[in-house]
């Protein structure tokens, strides 16, 4: 089981689906950011799975995964800063109460 590409790809697909559910269903902005982190991790897992099983991709996959981790860190920094900035103005972390652009 641990030696077939399929099991890792299915695991990554399930993790991505959980992240999609959390992103669509949660009301809290930080929960949505956590779901985005889960989805990024799922994509990273599939890249590394391909890298471990396809010989031509072996070192490329590790390098790309490291770059993705760095970009995800930048994304988390900016995303949380935006959430904190909005929280200062609106006094709520719930995204369905951010409706000032609708009026």
């Amino acid at each position: 089981m641990s030696n077939s590409l399929d099991s890792y790809l299915i695991l990554s697909g399930l993790l991505f689906a959980i992240g999609v559910f959390g992103f669509l269903a949660r009301r809290n902005a930080i929960s949505m950011l956590m779901s985005i982190e889960l989805m990024i991790n799922a994509v990273n897992l599939s890249i590394l799975a391909f890298g471990a099983f396809v010989p031509q991709l072996r070192t490329n996959a590790a390098v790309i995964a490291l770059l993705i981790i760095a970009v995800a860190a930048a994304e988390a920094t900016v995303g949380l800063a935006i959430v904190i900035a909005i929280f200062r103005n609106k006094k709520t972390p719930l995204v369905d109460e951010y409706d000032s652009m609708r009026e």
């Binding site: 697909g13 991505f16 999609v20 950011l33 779901s35 982190e37 471990a52 396809v54 490291l66 770059l67």
Partner: protein
């Protein structure tokens, strides 16, 4: 003392057992992240899922990426998320509704995505799949600083820009106003 390739008396390989244990931990903690009511517990479950994923990376033969996962995700991003949770936690937050009104549609969409990905993976015969081999860290370093040196530099610029932008965004309003006045 060296242990064998498989668990004694059962014949299950250690790798398989580790994979099942880590995958179960990963999926259960990820489900807890998206379903728990108290958001600080969601953050703690997120740390568990990152740790399980680091274990899976090590199982895949990528020790460097597993170490980076522990350092960056568990060490930095989780702490950042926990701090943001503590700064935006209102008193009545856990007692109020956790999910949007579109939760059923979200669940259906997630199940459809999971099903489509699973069927696609099982139906495709992937080309040129060898067996799992450990990635040598020296090769990764050579590749990172020869073929991928431009993306590496771009990422360093991106990180600098992200940190400066985050400090500007999260700064107190009063400090920004005073600077505008002067």
């Amino acid at each position: 003392m060296p242990i064998g390739d498989s668990i004694p008396f059962t014949g299950i390989r250690w790798d398989d057992m580790l994979f099942v244990a880590l995958a179960a931990t990963l999926l259960v903690s990820a489900l807890l992240v998206v379903t728990l009511r108290d958001i600080i517990r969601c953050g703690l479950a997120l740390i568990v899922s990152f740790a399980a994923l680091a274990g899976i990376y090590a199982l895949l033969g990528d020790p460097l990426v597993a170490a980076a996962q522990v350092l960056v995700y568990i060490g930095a991003i989780s702490v950042l998320i926990l701090f943001a949770i503590m700064m935006t936690q209102t008193k009545n937050a856990p007692t109020r509704l956790v999910f949007q009104t579109q939760t059923w549609f979200a669940g259906v969409a997630a199940l459809v995505i999971a099903g489509v990905i699973t069927v696609t993976v099982l139906a495709t015969t992937w080309p040129a799949t060898g067996s799992r081999v450990v990635t040598v860290t020296t090769d990764v370093a050579h590749r990172l600083f020869s073929d991928f040196v431009l993306p590496f530099e771009v990422v360093s610029v991106l990180l600098t820009a992200a940190v400066v932008g985050a400090v500007y965004l999260a700064r107190r309003e009063s400090a920004r106003h005073e600077e505008d006045r002067s």
